[in-house]
Subunit: 484 residues, 3 copies
């Protein structure tokens, strides 16, 4: 299919239109929360508190910044592993997240924070917006390399909308607990992304095989993403938990689960290689599965050993997924999952939902204390007959709803993204920054992989690889001549 990937006008107009819409909607709807308003002084008196520290800001700001790093540096750099797609990985992630957080502030605001017809904006909204966007970043991982920035902005617009509806159903209607978002963020994001990439299936991606792999230092760049995600995940899972012990516990559980997950990921990575060698893909991704899988249960009394067990199995399942499932999905189900999000967010997300449901169902007054149980699960007086078993059952419903929303939403969004005028790249130009970016030092007028002379085997020694920038090294190199 001959696509026009020239973004001039398409991208600028999309960006400007969306941003103008944001300005107008923020103008009409968004105001400061009392904690962020100059009326805080009176508010302090009203609440009868003496210290500015009781401002929500100080409870949440450090966690917020950690989450912010995860979304922009973590996801952004994690996806730079492709040898020629670093600019797009980090740049498009930046773009979609920057738009996504604004739209999420509005959407989540309308559903959860309207007061006196205005959306009330405080630090918690910022965290939730980052969470919502994290789910888009997850989905981005599935379609990485195959979509244009215009498609990404459209996808963000729609996915954020669906996310918020799903979140509303789970948190408000089903009264499900999901502080770290195993269901709302990871399961939803992963299966949404997988459905979209299925619908956008491209049958001719074989020709870009080279570019779908990494090179030595693109793998190192990706490790920057991995490590910041891993390190700050305890902040992610605890960021919007209740003050005090809930935040504290969520951080501890996540820390434990992640630590266990590293060991089993390494174990499986080595065990599944015929010479026992480790694979960077597993280290970059499977090690994080432990964070995903305690997303729901982290704030509950999962116990440290419980967290270890969750991490233990996640590392194993996730690595197995990379080795066996991803190739299967691609060859049999035509699901091209660039980053393997099914293994990092899909399976662990579902697992996390189940772990949460089980932990909730077996919560007992002996462990939680009567008061603690009521507090942890919001068992207020009005919920007559609501037991922990009911809670557990509803947690499962929440998981199923998330899956359904992801599939249904993914189909609709996928079909929209298949429309031919979003500036998509042709199959042979996928996974290549040069389509959408001015690449430094690209001196030869013909782009290197459009030039048949540079294909391996056909190469007659000219001008030797004009400028072996990183981007051109692999192809150029394998094409290098055996000097007579």
């Amino acid at each position: 299919m001959a696509w026009n990937s020239n973004l001039r006008w398409r991208l600028p107009l999309t960006c400007l239109l969306l941003e103008v819409a944001m300005v107008v909607l923020f103008g009409v709807y968004v105001r400061y929360d009392l904690d962020a308003d100059t009326h805080w002084g009176t508010e302090k008196k009203r609440r009868n508190i003496s210290s500015d520290l009781e401002n929500e800001f100080y409870y949440r700001y450090p966690s917020f910044q950690d989450v912010h790093v995860m979304v922009f540096v973590g996801f952004g750099f994690l996806m730079t592993f492709l040898q020629r797609y670093g600019f797009s990985a980090v740049g498009f992630n930046f773009l979609l997240a920057a738009f996504g957080i604004q739209w999420a502030l509005l959407m989540q605001g309308w559903f959860h924070h309207v007061e006196d017809r205005y959306i009330i904006l405080g630090i918690e909204n910022l965290i939730n917006a980052d969470f919502c966007v994290a789910s888009v970043c997850v989905a981005f991982g599935a379609v990485l390399g195959k979509v244009s920035p215009v498609q990404l902005l459209i996808m963000t617009l729609l996915q954020v909308t669906l996310f918020t509806v799903n979140e509303f159903i789970l948190l408000r209607l089903l009264e499900v607990k999901d502080a770290g978002g195993s269901m709302t963020i990871h399961t939803f994001g992963a299966y949404f992304g997988l459905t979209v990439t299925r619908i956008l299936y491209r049958s001719n991606l074989d020709q870009t095989k080279d570019r779908q792999s990494s090179v030595y230092h693109s793998d190192l760049f990706a490790m920057i993403g991995t490590l910041f995600l891993w390190i700050y995940w305890p902040s992610f899972n605890s960021a919007i938990s209740y003050h005090g012990d809930s935040q504290h516990r969520a951080a501890i559980n996540t820390y434990c689960s992640l630590a266990a997950c590293v060991l089993t990921s390494v174990a499986m990575s080595s065990a599944l290689h015929r010479k026992g060698k480790l694979d960077m893909v597993h280290i970059q991704n499977a090690t994080l599965a432990g964070g995903v899988a305690v997303g729901t249960a982290a704030e509950m009394m999962l116990m440290p050993y419980g967290s270890l067990i969750v991490g233990f199995f996640c590392g194993i399942f996730s690595t197995l997924g990379f080795v066996y499932l991803t190739p299967f999905l691609e060859s049999r189900l035509q699901i091209q999952d660039t980053c393997g999000i099914h293994n990092l967010h899909g399976i662990p997300g579902i697992l996390g939902g189940i772990v949460g449901a089980v932990t909730a169902a077996f919560a007992s007054p002996e462990v939680y204390g009567k008061e603690g149980l009521v507090h942890s699960f919001d068992f207020q007086g009005f919920k007559e007959g609501w037991t922990t078993r009911t809670q557990g059952r509803f947690q499962v419903f929440g998981l199923l709803v998330s899956l359904a929303m992801a599939l249904l939403g993914g189909i609709i969004v996928g079909l929209i993204l298949r429309l031919p005028f979003w500036g998509q790249a042709a199959d042979e130009n996928c996974f290549d920054d040069a389509v959408y970016w001015e690449i430094p030092e690209e001196k030869s007028p013909v782009h290197i992989h459009d030039d048949p002379a540079l294909k391996p085997g056909l190469y007659s020694p000219p001008l030797v690889p004009a400028v072996p920038t990183v981007s051109s090294i692999p192809v150029a190199a394998s094409a290098m001549p055996l000097v007579p």
Copy 2:
């Protein structure tokens, strides 16, 4: 001009002398703030507070660390975009910032924190010192690649001094509000740096054209800097605001402005390229302009949509600046602005000053509440007849003073730096780490670009670019032989 760029003795002596001076001056003048002193126990009783949390440390430390990351990782890596100047970018930034914060602690201490003839040192001083140094990092961006580390240390010494005087005039004499430093940090830093680089004008930099551009992964390294600056900017603008709602609001406004700025930067970057391709320079820089431009107003009741509007226009102006203004400044005004700081800090800084003035002038008791207005703008009783309009007018004066100080100071400092004995590099060696750094794997005794034989075209195939380290790839590669 035949300059001697050998730093032996010059650099060591400068460093040691400055550091000895620091030790002596700290010994004579600097003591701990009560919050950092073992007398805190008695202090706690005196202030009648029960909790250690009321120690200033807990209000400010997380923000401090974020700002610290911005100064050292943010600015440092942002400037690694040059293909052969990464060591210097990150290393010299490290050096000047490490010296600058010490000198800033003294200077700012003398002007703002003397108590009982001692400078009183607490967490707020550390943040302010980082702020002051950020202004030097901004100026460094203009002269990057063209000055020696000795020059940088001299510049830091003098710029920190001037910064502090300017800050004193603004904050104390004109009673201007400028929490995020649109005027004191960015406007001052940018125009100071631009004046210095104008005076250090080198007419023969064309020959280093290659080295003035980036390569693929130097651009990725630079994105590390960009993202950490972008992520932590809300901490920057809120770090020294009043406790509670001011800090909270400053963070929210900055978050909003930055998000909007990304979309318009991307839009303009694409719109201004004939094929609609994005330029990494814009993504690395213009996306940050939104943070600069809400520096003054972030803690005011700018409103979320106000922040979006500021970010919206900044992204546009900044990108336009990179495309049209920077080449103009260089060709017509002989201002060689390596990093384009005029577009990232200059224009947005001025804009930020104006936004702050307008926001202050139109502050009303309806929006702020009477109490809030007095609190936000320090309208204490003794300031009879001081209205928000007066405040707005003085904000404008502050901006003008900053510009004047920057130009005047820049001229003086520029002339001092033009003295021929600071170890400057020759024109043909600018933008090259090899002048000041032991570069790994440079095995050939002749340095590559000192060897006429290695210039493209003149090349007679010797020993082929001994070791194509990154630093030598571009030249080496284009020089590669047509194998017979």
Copy 3:
């Protein structure tokens, strides 16, 4: 010696066994601290505090996250400076730290936090576990490139054990103060690591000379590690100090010491090069020595100028160490110290112990206030006759015990690691990721440095730089032909 470096089964079994043990031990022993338990509500009432902020979490969590970044990103990337060993540096560091923190939680728990037969887990434990692992990361720096991941896991298991015993002797029996771990972490870690590497001495490492150096961008990757270590070191040294002024003071002192250290490191680096050029190794490492050397005294009334003095001398000693001592250790004492940890952690660690002892010995009621003195050094009533001089003397004993434990422990562990079945690499494969990692783009079936045709000198100009992935650049390049 013909070693079998195939890790299949060795590594997976080690990992799985260790992790299963962790799960079981956590199940039997580890429970939540009251601050992280749902009983916090009752606890709050018991302690008669009104705010959730009094939860230990809010005092320590931001520091914890900073320390976490230091361990995983800081140490991990600092060690990526080797040209072909980036995967192992960052990956093995990740593995050993993830295992180490779990084991440290148990060991330190048994020694310090048992309550009612359970280990009580809270945020402080997490920080201490990270601290303990930091000491392993230090030791890892000495053996980097020469050991298998299995050896590293064994070393971690044993070193964490020894660390905890040593820590117990110092903090509990000798009642030594060592908040930033100059003695327990750095001195112990460094001399332990040096002893191990001495025992694992390999006489034939000359053939890997090339791979023991850096390349241009591996040095930039390493700077990511350096800067995050440098920036967050104030958090490291203050993370477990007493609330309030102690934490505040520790952060200030560390900040000052580190700043001074940068200047003298740069000075010495330039002074010791015959052309005055800077060496990246010094900038990456010696600049951090100031943080190590105020580890013990940071929370004491060292005074800002005292910190500057400490940093001043550390920068000098550390750089001198890199230039003169490291080669001496290798050639004369057969201590192959890959990262030069002796200069970054060894000498500064000892110095830090001494500075701490002196500062403690000369602590006076005039400076600390009577109350402050008792509080700072835990001079409770029961310690009759305990003066600051006694404290100083015991600090010295602590240092000596740490050294003794390091040497003794290092010998034992070194001997264990010398057993031939841990999957060690052969001498000629040291410092090479390809032994343990699936390396991207390694297309030639023969690994490049196993191929005699590619050895410099023997090279007959074929195939121009076979595949210039980063990993193969150096060898390939130095092998480049003199085209006829």
